[in-house]
């Protein structure tokens, strides 16, 4: 009866992806999905993936057998099920998007209709965990405590529930991700707005007792269908209850729980998971009373999650891979442990280190967004630091955030109102705590203000004490051996010590190495050295006393990863790094990956020969370079973080592969680059240096007046890039830009209006282009390229323009002696082509152009950098289809932020879809970002007169389709003049029949609001309409060109049934007619 079990394997499995990256749902699902596909392939199961996120690893060749770049919606999924003759589906690898879609499909009876099995956790268990009331009831059945709460299905019920529980209460949304719709409500006044907001986002809200100050602890649990059950990892939040776990600093394993607490919660976790019948992986969250062993179960996520990705990286236990195997019917002891290769998946990792996760926020990028953090997720990425003390890991983590700090520096973000800074959490609170400690606040006092456990605060005070000790070294001009060693053990970087002591960091490094104080490479082996393990998963620490990973004599390369996800740098660079490593591996190189982002595939220990999970900084790269002695370092695949290190590393003797560091600098340094363009005779917008703020007037005159674009050097995603429309604004921007980077000059450029923007992505070899592709933005120049809608091949620019652009790219490649990837952004206006910028590294659009053209630009670039030259066929223009790349915004999560596009990037993710023509590709892409075909009505509020009139044809189309049009007064006037019927609305907040009213009443399901101009603030009334639309989760278009393209697409493709569902290879297989 207990013989070897052979699971009944499905034949054709459909995996639902998570779609575009957004706040609350990021790259971790690329990691879990990729692992899942890998597990399925090992079992020879035919895999079909639906995921519109074109920048992911999982949507690449060599993963799923069939890839559909389409929205993960019930309709499209059903069509894929029918077309591909799917017999089983996996719902738990694509985050909340996949789970919700999966539940919906069940309601629609799709699984029964097509006889599709849901693998892994059964749908009943998913419902038990997602529906708040069911969840409570199920746990009550086994005497497990949940927070006292009532589920409410509408605002009225919500009010009742608040009364019953009594303030303060916690609101939690059902079926949501990242705590959307949740809030802590403390006063009567807040009740109404909080409920309104919550119900706009989710259909059901749980009103719950607020467990302020309780510890927040999580366990990752795995169970197989035979009921073997383990907890892979537990984690403790630095921030107590009230701050979403995605917004919390988190440590693993827990630090302040004793053995009894640890195991009581572990036992409950297993009991709950067994009772719910989870098969695979899930996460359980607890609140734990700091004064007793009393607890509440907060929630169970019956799917792979951000926490599970973190737990995988924290322990080396491949949760997603194991969950996939369990879904196929394997049991835990039948699955081998990939790290030790001697043991099985049925074990619980023991850590002999700890990790610290730190979220990365980009709140300052959003005008008007609140800086407070709380029960809703707002962070856009996270980092994980590994070490052996809390000070060590938190200091590493703060550096990894890439926010310009060298550790938990008390003087970095000083605020006057220290008490408020402590009691009201913001992204910078840990620095305020450090400052408070330095100012003499006791741990007790800080604990009262923050409710953070004293254990963490004491650990932080060790850091602050070291700052004081280092300050004492100032006078002597040197750091003694003991201080140096202790500082390193507390996680200080050379640069951090340099700031604290005023001693040059290079001297510190020299002295340190002379003293024999160097880091060592330690292994993560899942068993804390109890058994021997053949692992390649490594980190560096000053607490280790010997290197564990032997340095080989093979030819090898080091790939520098992209670091933490943030606006402007996300999964696309991970795709580039992984592909670069794979290409190098194919050429016989040993590959070493250096990266620290737990949400990535590149930090999967399977990807490279060695994974060093550590900082990507000048100091750490030099340390790895010294130890490993690779043949070269790839800095061009991880975005701006590694790219910025190129010049400094090269000066210290590190061999940079591909384009030389000096040439990278010539392109990055705005001033040098502009000079180069002049030298080459390549046209560019008029520009000038910032030399002296007092000479502003002269400079403006030189550029031909306003508007003016201000651009600092070495920036990604337009950080600190702004448009100035008048003098005061310009001066203000200049002062801010100077603060961003004092080392590099600021350039002022004439801001071109009504120009097209095109981008060339290319690979060159010794200055010769070997691969290229050209994309066109739908929006006019002025919208950041990361927020723009890209079309490949271009749809409206002329052939001479394409030729000119191509010629410029070739000239630049030659002049900069490029070997490797590069990207040029250009303006096209009236036959002229002007260069805006050029990056000698992989760009954000590289996965998109690679997948649309079918040429892997990264692999080719890597081969060229390694000196391998094989001829390639290039399809830059002759494609028998169109690809569209559309940004994904997360404005609903950023309370108060103005959802307006500008020169600074605001999108958190993107999708890329295909179509027979531009209309189909655009509609597919928009649907994949959550857009819905309008059915009820359209609200039009168009800015300048010229904009109003250039929309007349489109307005007529909307009227023809039969959509009621609502318009603000100016727009209504225009519509009347061209005989389009509309309902005029007031812009006045509170006025009856105002635009905001119509949105609230749900009379419109598409809002087109084009602001008067891209000024810094946006007009206040426009802001209200935009914000209200976003809060009501309505599709919002704020760019005129995009609005026009959208209406045209709606006209051509009236509804989603008119959109074809074709797989990626079906498009690529179309033989293009050569346009030579």
């Amino acid at each position: 009866m207990y013989g070897a079990y052979i699971p009944k394997k499905p034949k054709r499995v459909l995996i639902l992806g998570s779609g575009a990256l957004q706040i609350g749902q990021a790259g971790e699902f690329d990691y879990s999905g990729s692992q899942c596909i890998k597990a399925m392939r090992e079992e020879h199961v035919y895999t079909v993936l639906i995921n519109p996120n074109i920048a992911t690893i999982q949507t690449s060749e060599g993963f799923a057998d069939k890839i559909y770049l389409a929205a993960v919606t019930p309709e499209f999924v059903e069509r894929v099920i029918a077309k591909e003759e799917i017999d089983a589906i996996l719902l738990s690898f694509g985050g909340q998007t996949a789970l919700n879609c999966g539940v919906e499909l069940d309601k629609l009876g799709v699984y029964d209709k097509y006889n599709v099995r849901v693998l892994g956790t059964p749908l009943t268990a998913i419902r038990d965990t997602e529906d708040r009331q069911l969840f409570k009831d199920r746990l009550a059945e086994i005497d497990v405590k949940t927070a006292r709460s009532f589920a409410a299905n509408n605002i009225e019920e919500g009010r009742e529930a608040v009364k019953k529980i009594g303030l303060p209460v916690m609101l939690r949304g059902a079926f949501s991700l990242g705590g959307k719709g949740s809030a802590v409500v403390r006063t009567e006044e807040e009740v109404e707005t909080a409920l309104k907001r919550a119900f706009a986002a989710v259909p059901q809200v749980l009103v719950e007792e607020y467990l302020a100050g309780w510890k927040e602890v999580e366990y990752e649990v795995v169970r197989d269908f035979r009921d073997s059950c383990i907890t892979v990892c537990n984690m403790e939040n630095f921030d107590p209850m009230g701050i979403h776990t995605g917004e919390s600093i988190v440590v693993a394993p827990s630090q302040t729980l004793n053995d009894e607490e640890y195991h009581v919660l572990r036992t409950i976790a297993i009991k709950v998971v067994r009772h719910l019948g989870i098969v695979g992986e899930c996460n359980i969250q607890y609140a734990l009373d700091p004064f007793s062993t009393d607890y509440r179960v907060i929630e169970v996520n019956a799917r792979l999650s951000r926490s599970s990705a973190l737990a995988s990286k924290a322990t080396g236990y491949p949760l997603a891979y194991v969950a996939a195997k369990l879904a196929l019917g394997y049991t835990l002891p039948e699955i081998p442990n990939g790290i030790t290769r001697r043991t099985t998946a049925f074990f619980e990792p023991a850590l002999d280190y700890l990790v610290c996760k730190f979220p990365r926020w980009d709140l300052t990028k959003f005008k008007g967004a609140s800086m407070k953090i709380g029960s809703e997720m707002k962070s856009v990425g996270e980092v994980m630091a590994i070490g052996r003390t809390f000070p060590e890991v938190i200091q590493k983590a703060t550096r990894m955030l890439d926010i310009g700090v060298h550790g938990v520096d008390p003087e970095k973000f000083v605020r006057e109102d220290l008490d408020t800074a402590l009691s009201e959490p913001t992204p910078l609170r840990v620095f305020h705590i450090a400052k408070a400690l330095k100012e003499g606040y006791t741990v007790e006092r800080i604990h009262e203000l923050t409710r953070i456990d004293r254990w963490f605060l004491h650990a932080l005070s060790n850091i602050v004490d070291m700052y004081k000790r280092l300050d004492g070294c100032k006078a002597e001009g040197r750091i003694d051996a003991d201080t140096m060693r202790r500082a390193k053990e507390l996680g200080f970087s050379d640069a951090g010590m340099s700031i604290a002591t005023g001693i040059n960091h290079k001297k510190i490094r020299r002295d340190r190495i002379e003293l024999g104080i160097t880091p060592h490479i330690a292994k993560i082996d899942t068993l804390a050295a109890e058994f021997p393990a053949e692992t390649n998963y490594l980190y560096s620490t000053y607490h280790a006393t010997a290197h564990e990973s032997p340095t080989t004599r093979k030819k090898k390369i080091l790939v520098l990863g992209s670091g933490c996800y943030r606006i402007g740098s996300s999964v696309e660079f991970d795709w580039c790094c992984v592909n670069a490593a794979k290409a190098a591996e194919e050429l016989g190189y040993e590959t070493i990956m250096l990266n620290y982002n737990p949400e990535t595939v590149s930090t999967d220990y399977d990807v490279c020969d060695k994974l060093i999970f550590d900082e990507v900084s000048y100091e750490s790269v030099l340390d790895v370079w010294d130890k490993e002695q690779p043949d070269g370092v790839i800095v061009s695949m991880g975005g701006q973080v590694p790219n910025n290190l190129a010049l400094r590393l090269a000066k210290d003797g590190v061999k940079i592969l591909g384009t030389s560091a000096e040439d990278i600098d010539r392109a990055e340094d705005r001033s040098k680059f502009s000079a180069l363009l002049d030298e080459l005779g390549v046209d560019q917008p008029r520009w000038t240096h910032l030399t002296d703020i007092s000479k502003v007037d002269e400079m403006v005159a030189e550029l031909g007046g306003f508007p003016i674009l201000v651009r600092p050097s070495y920036v990604l995603s337009g950080a600190a890039m702004s448009v100035a429309h008048e003098k005061h604004e310009l001066v203000r921007i200049l002062e801010r830009a100077k603060a961003v980077s004092s080392d590099h000059p600021v350039v002022l450029t004439a801001f071109e209006t009504n120009a097209r923007e095109v981008e060339i992505d290319a690979v060159a070899d010794n200055g010769e282009i070997v691969l290229w592709a050209i994309s066109e933005h739908i929006e006019d120049a002025g919208v950041h390229s990361g927020d723009a809608t890209l079309m490949l091949p271009p749809q409206s620019i002329s052939i001479p323009t394409i030729h000119k652009a191509r010629g410029i790219a070739a000239e630049l490649a030659k002049a900069l002696k490029i070997t490797g990837p590069f990207n040029v952004q250009m303006l096209a206006k009236k036959g002229a082509v002007r260069v805006i910028e050029c990056n000698l590294r992989a760009s954000r659009s590289l996965p998109f152009v690679s997948k649309v053209t079918g040429n892997n630009f990264v692999s080719e670039a890597t081969r060229r950098m390694l000196g391998v030259r094989k001829p390639v066929t290039n399809h830059a223009l002759d494609l028998a289809y169109v690809g569209a790349k559309v940004p994904m915004f997360s404005f609903p999560r950023l309370v108060g932020a103005d959802p307006l596009l500008g020169v600074e990037m605001a999108s958190t993710g993107e999708v890329g879809c295909f179509g027979d023509d531009a209309n189909e590709a655009l509609m597919h892409s928009l649907l994949a970002t959550g857009f819905r075909y309008p059915k009820k009505g359209v609200l039009l509020s168009l800015g300048p007169v010229s904009d109003k009139y250039s929309f007349t044809e489109e307005a007529k189309v909307l009227a023809e389709i039969g959509l009621p049009i609502y318009a603000t007064p100016g727009t209504a006037e225009m519509l009347a003049s061209v005989n389009v019927k509309c309902i005029e609305l007031s812009k006045q907040e509170g006025a009856e029949g105002s635009a905001m009213d119509i949105i609230d009443q749900g009379k419109v399901d598409l809002v087109i609001n084009v602001p008067r101009s891209y000024d810094d603030q946006g007009r206040p009334d426009g802001y209200l309409i935009r914000r209200r639309a976003v809060d009501a989760e309505l599709p919002l278009i704020t760019d005129l060109m995009l609005a026009r393209a959208l209406v045209e697409a709606i006209r051509a493709r009236r509804d989603s049934t008119s959109l074809r569902i074709l797989s990626w290879d079906e498009y690529l297989d179309r033989k293009p007619m050569a346009l030579r």
Binding site: A522, E530, T545
Partner: protein
């Protein structure tokens, strides 16, 4: 302060506990929590304990027990180890139950604490070389310190130190269990009491054959050292195996004693099991459990007589984790179902055992 191993390894660190020299076998444990339970576990008597997890002391130590009490988190009335070696001792403890730091507690019982050692590296060494003798050396004159370091004889003295002085009975309404104590953790006793049993806790050298007749069942507890050094106890258990018809259960050392008494053999493990994350599988049901373990010796499966069979197996290295008699109610496990520290997955074994005892009794 230094740790010196018999292979000549010398590691320096900072002294936080009692500043004195001790000698003993150096063993490690990789569990991430549970230092209080581990330090008071009599199985560690005479040993220098290395905790691999790098942060130790986080949640401090609760006040000492009242006289006669048997409360958690303590597993006996005193710290059992000779000395403690950690990577980073954390003095600033934080926990609602904590009344003092780990160092204060260790000092109060005259136990040295050496911090600042790369315990991962040390664990690797101990894993590869097996248990080594070692010295925590407090003074500069190393040879003198080593010679005069406090130590425990591990063949005989160790059992005398950990076993109770006399037989004690804890009342309960349920079945009467004889708990044979050669260094038994308190939580085995608590586990029985919590389930309503009446427990007579007798030292291993008591007349357990006679005591067993008065009880409804026997439980052989855990303890330190090499099981073969307990030949008297083995002989008594052998006598019981021949005559006894009531359920008999063994835990850890008890597993080895039972196997030896049955005619089987034990031997040292290549890699000792010293952690709370040991996976085992029940060979009858195929179910798997995570268990808490601390042993350097194991039962040799192939040595078992015909009427005995292996019951549990370790999924990491395939070694024996429990044996059972094919027809009589005698069985034992190598791991610690009482946990403390560690996972509570196999606590059901106490329920099963008491159920069986009750069934046999009626």
């Amino acid at each position: 302060m230094k740790l010196i191993l018999e292979d000549g390894t010398e590691l320096s660190g900072d002294s936080f506990g009692a500043h004195r020299s001790v000698a003993g076998e150096v063993v490690f444990n990789t569990s991430m929590t549970g230092y209080i339970e581990t330090l008071t576990d009599p199985s560690y008597r005479g040993q220098i304990l290395v905790l691999t997890y790098p942060l130790i002391g986080n949640y401090g130590v609760p006040p000492d027990r009242e006289a006669g009490a048997m409360n958690r988190p303590f597993e006996s009335n005193e710290i059992q180890v000779m000395g403690l070696v950690v990577q980073n001792y954390v003095d600033h403890h934080s926990h609602h139950a904590s009344r003092r730091s780990l160092a204060e507690w260790l000092k109060s019982q005259n136990i040295p604490l050496l911090s600042g050692i790369d315990t991962r590296r040390l664990t690797q060494k101990l894993r590869e070389k097996g248990t080594m003798r070692g010295w925590v050396v407090a003074g500069g004159n190393v040879d003198w310190e080593k010679k005069n370091a406090d130590r425990v004889d591990m063949r005989k003295e160790v059992f005398e130190l950990v076993a109770p002085k006399e037989t004690v009975t804890h009342d309960g309404k349920g079945a009467h269990i004889l708990l044979v104590d050669a260094g038994c953790k308190d939580n085995i006793c608590r586990s029985l009491l919590e389930r309503g049993a009446k427990v007579t806790r007798a030292p291993y050298h008591a007349d357990i054959v006679a005591l067993a007749q008065e009880a409804d069942g026997v439980l052989l507890g855990n303890g330190p050292g090499d099981p073969k050094d307990l030949s008297e106890l083995i002989a008594k258990v052998r006598e019981l195996l021949g005559t006894y018809s009531k359920p008999m259960m063994g835990v850890c050392l008890g597993n080895q004693i039972l196997a030896l008494a049955a005619g089987g053999d034990t031997g040292p493990l290549k890699y000792g099991h010293r952690s709370v994350n040991q996976p085992v599988q029940d060979l009858l049901t195929r179910r798997c459990y995570i268990t808490s373990q601390n042993h350097g010796y194991h039962v040799l499966d192939e040595s078992l007589p015909d009427d005995w069979e292996p019951w549990f197996v370790n999924l990491n290295d395939g070694t024996n984790e429990g044996v059972r008699h094919r027809s009589k109610p005698f069985f034992s496990v190598q791991f610690h179902p009482e946990a403390s520290p560690g996972p509570q997955d196999t606590a059901y074994l106490f329920d099963d055992y008491l159920r069986l005892v009750a069934a046999v009794r009626s």
